[in-house]
Symmetry: D2
Subunit: 372 residues, 4 copies
């Protein structure tokens, strides 16, 4: 297979995570990917970034990155309001698209993106990277193997506290017109995706959004500006299967850094996992003898576990960045097998539909059906 | 002070926990309480129970226990549908009343009970025993001392799995006319009380109740009967203070035995606690130097901690039953100081009002205000 | 069976723990034990103690307690230097003896005690109470069932920090002539017993004792006195079976309160346990499928677990004091079955022999055989 | 500063970890390092390895790698018996040397290596990579800041179970003439180094080595061969400062994968850390108010923590491989500042001296002084 030439648009947190992922996927998994074009807003920084990670060249106009001849795959790590325009341009130019989450600011925008990539017939993927922790891949396997039986309850708390950092400026993440929503789209979207990954489709929700820090420093130093998105979001959910779910996320939960705690309870087994100790999966099984039942703490680093044998021996833990590498591995495998990768824009749209229903319920103060 | 003569109505799980509590409160805290009358439905069992715990006598009619001359305090460990009639009889006979939770089956019933004890001018207390874990007393102190700052978020999961025990009969706990509700009134009521204890009044809620095991074995062996209460209950809440809350409880969360996990996030500090490791309080403080911040795991067994110096040296852990002993200690202190104990029927009514609003929201599919 | 009439000698920490144990064993396990005589040095305090726990009478001379006609069992909670004289007097008077650990100050003394109770033909038991945590009873069952396979390694750290309490007086626990040794006899003896309980006899050791706080306040306020025992003790050990062991204990391990951490590794399974979370047993089994292996955290409170069904439903945790209750239950069962209880003075002597060899090795700076 | 041209000798576990480290140090920390020569025994594999990680060329003779003109730094990831010859050749050719642990098979060999690099005046470093976990860098800072006070006790258990893998062949790691020792040199050496890093020099030890699996499959399939090294090693130690230490390591501790558990207790504070959850440091401080003391669980991923701001935002955990990257960062900083990196061959020799004394004590059955 020929190398897939990649353009990465964005050079900040996500840009770095993605650029690193392609390099590591090539080194550790022999993935045929090549860093071709780096695109950022600041010319000097982008050039330096490109050299650092080994891109062939750097540019400052995403329109160019999205359509360049030395690009097969456009990887979008830009702010949320650019996801749609870049996707549309790239797809129409016949490029594959790998987009950061949330797919878009609104469901309508997300649907348009999906329609466009489908019409263009290009491969598409969304970066719900948490799916790719080996522990969550093992969790999925347990679900598919029936080890949990019929799933009844899903609980997820995703708590961070960076929103409390003193002097934090009013970046695009705090502006509804750029980001669509706050913690809801930024962090809750991950637990929505993991809920869908492990339990299935969500059909109705009712939610509550709150903003505790209402004004933040304007980046240009001209005073304070209004925060127009949520700091916290919580919602109840019903799944198609009859299972129930509760979801909560926060940027202002003091003391929690990347505390994404999941628990799934079924009729034959249960699992629990936390992103602050992501190499461990907890698993409880009715198949154990009654006096020996308990949550097993499985250190998911064995050769028999997903992805791990390409890294280090058992017990040597993997970090956050490895999830992006595994996402690229999935992307490459899909390319090789001629199928669309998973998760893709369909998953992006479905997660967006849940967010949209939560926002709607906040206004209506009622349960809302998740649009289909 | 003269001994308080106690009648305990009920001889099962709660009857035992309460009978033990009075004995231990006398031995370890010099509380002036005396076990006078034990009351149960089965004469022989009740007699044996009475001997075991050192009651002066045993009877089988609660009406007698509630009004006997050798009784100062009536302690109600009977099924929920008897809470009101016993309270009314006891209060009218001038007895103090100590009642298990939930206070009643409905808010109306609870309000009548409160009105009656207030009109009778008798002391009243409700057994929200979890407040009396030293770790939660310390948590309360932190809140009062301002160590958490302004509280913004409250999260509570209270998960058990005994509802999945094969062959479990259809006891009163599964029948709405006897219990009022299922997991909601049985277990969620504890986290509602702890939320009020730590954060304050709840003003609105929206909830979701589910029943996963819909039929259970009739106790008389005549087949299966319908479960008319919830197995799981989850709800979102808004507090008077502006804080938000999520609550979930379950009897069918496989693998969780008495997993009551609380977390409170404030603007200056956060706390976390779990009833499966109840001697530990986790506390995060902004007052720590930035590079040394983290949740402290405080083993709340030091001499400086509430209640603990009457027991064992530091590090020697206390169990579930000690909460009941401490509740009796509070009851006796209140008697000595001529004040009503806390928590009392006012707390019982307020918790019941929250449950009622949750039940209402389940029907209306909307947010509901908590009645005042 | 007739009631066993008990004299408890000592009214401090251990006196209280034992007095409570008999009461609770009677209430919760129907054990035929009766608190007859309480014996302490201070007349007024002992009287108050006796009333509090329901003893028939109180006295101040242990010689009387050891030989009184209203006593069947003499329970020794006095300082270590009194263990031998009380045992000798009691045994010669035909009383059963239940003695706190360590059995004696020296091996010679311990051997004399054993010889005496055996010659007198009286039942004898030593209070290695930790064996009686349900989790450690379950551990023993796993060993006996072969679930660990051939045991290869035993590790135990038993860390406390009360020795660092400012102003702590030079009590008998810091004087070699009264206590025999320091942390070695006080706390290491527990892990020696648990090692024997789970793994078998220890045949050789080499150790290191240290005293970090060399002088302490004299109780009479007349200045400072010299500490003549160890604050910390560590030793390596070989078991008869070929297994190896490491042991460490400390009174000055800042931050650790009652941190007794055990781990046993075998050829088919491993277990781990900690006294600061004593209701949990960790168990790893080769019998699990490779991709699902991990230490199970078993909350040892199920009906199927040892002792627990007499207490509370699953998940409601037990505390430190319950171990003493279970020890009394074992004592009563042995009486009923006409056998000597376990652990008894033979176990006391064997543990003492290990301590003695450790002390010897500290002097010789060599490995020493454990005397037989 | 000009690029440092690196030859990495070895292409297996450690070869990969080191090759990756240089690449990532360049990308994430702007380190001026360039992968020049990859050297391995199998030509085809080495070529593929070299391409994967971006080396300029690949060779199969270490003698060439050690002396090539396009090499400034020789990085030794070969079996232990090659550490000395490669070091000698490289140093004499004026190359800097970065060597995997243990430095050598014997103390004498290690001393010769140190002498040679010192005489040659070349920079030298040993890969005690665990020092470079941010949590352990923070631990060191706490020690230096006096936050622990006077250190009294050091405990380390380093447990793995890969030695129990069925069918594991008799590689060089099981042969004394190639490896010097077994678990002692392979894993105990890490905790010896960390003890020196945090507490200081060790002056005497007494130890116990055991081999539980005595024969293993010969790699050529011709039957079984004898294991001539230890599976487990435990020893007691005294530090120059008066502190005491216990150390244990194992390859056959079933269920433990990379369980390196450290605890350091001082007069003002204590710390604990485990390599299976390496992003967390536990810290207990006497400076906290008495009722709020407890081990803080610090997630060492904040901007204020060592090395972390070059990676990801707070809470996004780092893995095992990052320690190697940080080691390379230290190496480059030392080069830039014209000083020798730390830890270096002096540390390698001192750790080796401790291992040697442990081996000696195993024979003599006595305490042995650590040679100086």
């Amino acid at each position: 297979m020929q190398d897939i030439k990649v353009a990465v648009i964005g050079t900040k947190f996500m840009g770095r995570a993605h650029a690193n992922a392609y390099r590591q996927a090539r080194a550790f998994f022999s993935c045929p990917v090549r860093l071709s074009v780096s695109c950022g807003t600041n010319e000097k920084d982008t050039k330096e970034f490109a050299e650092r990670f080994g891109f062939s060249r750097s540019i400052t106009q995403w329109e160019e990155a999205a359509t360049a001849t030395d690009v097969d795959l456009v990887d979008i790590c830009a702010p949320n309001d650019l996801h749609a325009p870049i996707t549309l341009a790239a797809a129409r130019a016949g490029k594959a698209v790998f987009c950061e989450k949330p797919l878009a600011r609104t469901l309508k925008e997300a649907q348009e993106m999906l329609r466009t990539v489908e019409e263009a017939g290009v491969p598409h993927m969304i970066c719900f990277n948490y799916r790719f922790f080996p522990a969550l891949q093992l969790a999925k396997k347990l679900v598919l193997d029936g080890a949990l039986g019929e799933i009844r309850q899903f609980h997820a708390l995703y708590l961070q506290d960076w929103g409390l950092t003193p002097g934090l400026p009013l970046t695009w993440r705090f502006q509804r017109e750029k980001s669509g929503s706050g913690a809801l789209g930024d962090t809750a979207v991950h637990i929505v995706d993991l809920a869908r990954f492990l339990v299935g489709e969500i059909t109705e929700v009712t939610g509550m959004l709150s903003t505790f820090v209402r004004e933040r420093r304007l980046p240009d130093g001209s005073g304070l500006g209004r925060v127009t998105v949520d700091d916290t979001a919580a919602f109840l959910a019903r799944f198609q299967s009859g299972a129930t779910g509760i979801f909560e996320t926060s940027r202002v939960a003091l003391g929690r850094k990347n505390f994404m705690h999941l628990e799934v309870n079924g009729s034959r087994g249960s699992i629990a996992w936390n992103a602050e100790e992501p190499n461990w999966l907890r698993f409880y099984s009715l198949d154990d003898p009654p006096h020996l039942r308990g949550f097993r703490q499985i250190l998911v680093t064995e050769e028999t576990h997903p992805y791990t044998k390409n890294w280090w021996p058992a017990g040597h833990i993997l970090g956050y960045e490895h999830t992006f590498v595994h996402a690229v591995v999935e992307l490459c495998r899909a390319f090789e097998e001629g199928r669309n990768p998973e998760p893709n824009f369909v998953d992006g749209v479905r997660a967006q539909a849940v967010l949209e229903a939560v926002l709607l319920s906040q206004g209506s103060q009622r349960w809302e059906r998740v649009p289909h």
